[in-house]
């Protein structure tokens, strides 16, 4: 795929030598997309993803629960090029091919590569850790072979110019599943392709009562800025946010056993060129049609009152709705935290400069030196705050936003079941009417129309039994799906919370180091 000059983020200031080296490798390896093997990983490496968590992965894989981070993180600004960073080590999803209710799937969120900020790229981006199987979970695994499928979304590139421009993302897959042609391969996709995939999956599976992971949201403002070519940090941030969201989306899709089997998903991952998904634009004809459908659905939902034999569904739906509200609130609070921390960043930087100026004027030389040291400490504080804001956002805020939308998808799932039930009801009432019609005919003694009536009854009888079976199946599927979802959610949240606490710990640790270095300077004032 040709491309405009790859918009890799500007190299991290301290590592221009390294970056220059890696950059050339990227340009070479990007020529052919298939069967990149190692190149995918090194290519992706050109981004300033500091693999300071790579040692973490080692820790996690050895299944030690304790936090041994203290030595691992150096307060340096550099990339740690000692270990070869395998992009996919963080993107492991282990799955079974058998379509069972059990787990064995991990929802892993891939590497949150640094945002393309121009000045302060955080030194160590903390990526969510991987939780390997515990012993019990391994036992719970149904029979079925273990296969691996790792997905990463990387290398956003702007294709074209002006209002027709779009971002193209590299979707790389690494797998041992036999149903794919190769073990490692990658393709380039654009945002509308992802939306198209969602449409296709949704059309097929939502009627069965599956929970379909929602794709990342469209953003006219964000994309316009990118299209117009504003190369500032906010559009870079937007691209990074979207890239990470697309990655999480795909990982959730393949974590779902029946979705993974879907040929559309396979095609999305494998096929070189996808036909352009045209009915995904908001203001297109199909887009408007969708909106109308959604509106009528909403009205329907209000008027259907199901006769529940099992209270489980009603109470579960209520639970889901409540939780959605609470998560929204929590998300708003975390959002506010992110913003305030960004503010703190700015104010700290300004203060640092001011202290430096004061130090330069101070006549006592020791005090003057101490003040300039203080200015440097505050500068480091600013970087710490920036990193923490990053973690706040990518670990917590995005997780919460994702789950607010996922809960919406769960609600849709319940609604589907209700639709199926409604269809059954309607069929049953139609059958009833046909039977009444037959009775009337018998009474009026019109034998020629009787055959027709009998045929009608047969037709509708089989329809009713079909719909009954459908309803049973959907009920069963929804139940399974909800249970699977809840397990995933608990695991996801726990993982992320641990990751977030680790990021806080890391920040505090760096903080201690900074101040401890400053203390002797302060004591040296005479």
């Amino acid at each position: 795929m040709s491309g405009g000059c790859g918009r890799n983020p500007p190299p991290f200031p301290d590592n221009e030598d390294q970056e220059a080296e890696l950059d050339t490798r990227v340009l070479d390896s990007d020529e052919d997309d298939d069967d990149e093997g190692e190149d995918i990983f090194t290519g992706a490496r050109s981004k300033p993803i500091t693999p300071t968590s790579a040692p973490d992965e080692g820790d996690i894989f050895s299944e030690e629960g304790s936090y041994i981070r203290s030595d691992v993180h150096h307060a340096t600004n550099g990339l740690h090029s000692d270990e070869e960073l395998d992009l996919f080590t963080e993107a492991t999803v282990e799955l079974t091919l058998t379509n069972t209710t059990s787990q064995g799937r991990r929802e892993i969120i891939g590497p949150t590569a640094s945002a393309c900020n121009t000045t302060h790229v955080p030194n160590s981006i903390l990526k969510p850790s991987i939780v390997t199987k515990t012993m019990e979970e391994l036992e719970e695994e149904e029979s079925g072979d273990q296969f691996e499928l790792n997905i990463a979304v990387t290398n956003p590139e702007k294709i074209g110019d002006g209002m027709n421009a779009y971002m193209s993302y590299k979707v790389s897959t690494q797998t041992t599943l036999p149903m794919f042609l190769n073990k490692t391969f990658s393709v380039r996709r654009r945002f509308s392709d992802f939306l198209g995939l969602y449409e296709k999956i949704s059309a097929k599976h939502s009627l069965l009562g599956c929970i379909i992971p929602p794709p990342p949201q469209k953003s006219v403002v964000g994309m316009t800025k990118v299209k117009v070519g504003k190369e500032d940090s906010s559009s870079a941030e937007f691209v990074e946010k979207r890239r990470a969201a697309l990655e999480r989306y795909l990982q959730r899709v393949v974590a779902h056993p029946s979705l993974l089997q879907d040929p559309d998903v396979r095609e999305f991952l494998e096929r070189d060129e996808l036909p352009r998904a045209v009915n995904t634009q908001a203001l297109s004809g199909p887009g408007l049609l969708k909106m109308i459908n959604r509106a009528s659905d909403a009205v329907n939902k209000m008027t259907i009152k199901m006769n529940e034999s099992d209270n489980w569904f009603e109470s579960k739906l209520q639970e889901v709705e409540n939780e959605e509200q609470l998560l929204r609130r929590l998300h708003a609070a975390v959002d506010s935290l992110v913003n305030h921390r960004k503010e703190l960043c700015i104010n700290t930087a300004v203060f640092s400069k001011s202290v430096a100026m004061l130090g330069s004027v101070e006549e006592n030389s020791a005090l003057s030196r101490a003040l300039s040291q203080l200015a440097e400490v505050e500068d480091k504080m600013e970087q710490l705050h920036q990193q923490q804001a990053f973690s706040d956002f990518f670990i917590l805020a995005e997780l919460l936003a994702d789950y607010v939308r996922l809960l919406g998808a769960v609600r849709c799932c319940f609604e589907q079941r209700m639709k199926v039930w409604q269809r059954l009801q309607e069929a049953q009432s139609t059958l009833q009417k046909k039977r009444e019609a037959e009775a009337k005919l018998l009474w009026a003694n019109k034998p020629e129309k009787l055959q027709q009536a009998k045929d009608d009854i047969n037709e509708w009888e089989s329809k009713v039994s079909q719909y009954e079976r459908d309803f049973e199946r959907v009920t069963c599927t929804v139940r399974k799906e909800v249970l699977r979802f809840e397990k995933e959610k608990a695991r996801d949240f726990k993982q992320h919370i641990v990751k977030y606490l680790e990021s806080l710990l890391h920040t505090q640790h760096r903080l201690v180091k900074c101040w401890e270095a400053f203390l002797p300077e302060a004591k040296a004032i005479a």
Partner: protein, 394 residues
């Protein structure tokens, strides 16, 4: 130049000025203060061995306005023109807590019981912090007066300490306040003129340059520090809201959430404490901004005296030419010279000791702040580590 006595706890509080209360002959502190609506009543406690006082140990209540009166009368006293006059304590500012209290009252109905209780607690803590700060700043003012060889003998100071009734009669009336305002305006206009006066003494020339530059830089640093600590407080508050929101979610037995809540609450506390430490730095900067201004005022007065002296020279020359009022002019000139010399001499002493005092105060404050930052970060770390371990072992 002075020993820093670290014995009492209170000493730690007084980090802006360290040469105080070393002399047992006159010991002043503010052990107590009452806040009645808008007014703060400070209880000043004095212990003295000086014979000029009637009793050896006594207490007296005073209001903020009384402090201002004392400061202004000292400023207006000619004798002290050659001294750096300790800056007046700023008015107690309870705006922040008051605003919060208002918000709390309004939102009471929409909050849960725990949230309300928590906010109330926070409000009280903030109130207490402002309170402590204002007490400290008033205390330091008095202590600087009491530890200065000249100010401690001041008649008005003694009245302030001893007069057992309300000082209302002595406070400025409107006319005097207006006069003061006008004087300030004239002063700033003069400042421009004075800075153009040719300086004969190398020491003062240096001081002038340094103080002018330093003054603007420290003012700037103070403002920026204030902004920064405010942001830090906002972050701490956010953690509060997050833990509140998580509380509502942790309906199920989700340990992850519960742990995070406790972490958030403590993180908030830590952040709050951290911002308090930054506040120390802000306080130091703020105090020295005022002190630098006081030093500048001294320079101004001396420059004024120099200008007067030069004027008196011119008058004398004119008188000699005209042959009239020579004796008067001579006398005037002698007086001006005397005044100028006195100012220069005491000014030099004062400015030199001011330098030393400033360096020592900065040192103490920076060390304290750094040590506290380290301590609290380490606390945070152990708390976080514990939580992570618990979560990972589940």
């Amino acid at each position: 130049m002075t020993s820093i006595s670290e014995d009492s706890d209170k000493e730690k509080v007084r980090s802006v000025s360290v040469d105080l209360n070393n002399d047992a002959s006159l010991v002043i502190d503010i052990p107590d203060a009452l806040c009645e609506r808008d007014k703060v009543k400070f209880t000043i406690h004095i212990k003295t061995t000086l014979s000029s006082f009637q009793k050896s140990e006594f207490s007296v209540p005073r209001q903020h306005e009384d402090f201002i009166w004392l400061h202004d009368t000292i400023v207006e006293t000619e004798e002290y023109a050659g001294l750096i006059i300790p800056p007046a304590p700023p008015k107690p500012d309870f705006e922040g807590p008051r605003e919060k209290m208002h918000k709390l009252g309004e939102g009471e109905s929409s909050m849960t019981k725990e949230e309300y209780a928590k906010m109330k607690q926070e409000l009280e803590a903030e109130y207490l912090a402002v309170f402590k700060k204002t007490v400290q700043v008033h205390e330091v003012f008095l202590q600087r007066l009491s530890s200065h060889p000249m100010f401690r003998k001041d008649r008005n100071f003694q009245i302030f300490l001893e007069y057992d009734q309300d000082l209302t009669v002595r406070r400025k009336n409107a006319k005097e306040m207006f006069g003061g305002f006008f004087k300030n305006m004239v002063k700033s206009a003069d400042e421009v003129l004075i800075s153009g006066v040719k300086e004969v003494d190398e020491f003062f020339e240096q001081e002038k340059i340094f103080l002018l530059d330093y003054s603007s830089k420290i003012k700037d640093a103070t403002a920026k520090a204030e902004k920064m600590t405010r942001s830090h407080k906002n972050v701490a508050d956010d953690y509060n809201h997050i833990s509140g929101a998580m509380n509502s979610i942790a309906a199920d037995n989700n340990t992850a959430f519960k742990k995070t809540i406790s972490v958030c609450v403590l993180q908030k506390l830590e952040d709050r404490v951290a911002s308090d430490q930054e506040l120390k730095l802000t306080e130091l900067l703020r105090y020295y901004t005022r002190d630098i201004q006081a030093a500048k005022d001294l320079l101004y007065r001396r420059a004024r005296a120099l200008a007067d002296y030069e004027n008196s020279n011119k008058t004398l020359d004119k008188a000699r030419l005209k042959g009239k009022d020579i004796a008067q002019a001579e006398e005037n000139q002698k007086q001006c010279l005397r005044k100028f010399d006195k100012l220069s001499e005491s000014g030099k002493k004062e400015l030199t000791s001011f330098k030393a005092r400033r360096v020592v105060a900065f040192r103490k404050n920076l060390i304290e702040m750094t040590e506290l930052e380290i301590k609290h970060a380490k606390n945070s770390m152990s708390l976080l580590q514990g939580s992570i371990e618990i979560l990972n072992s589940n």
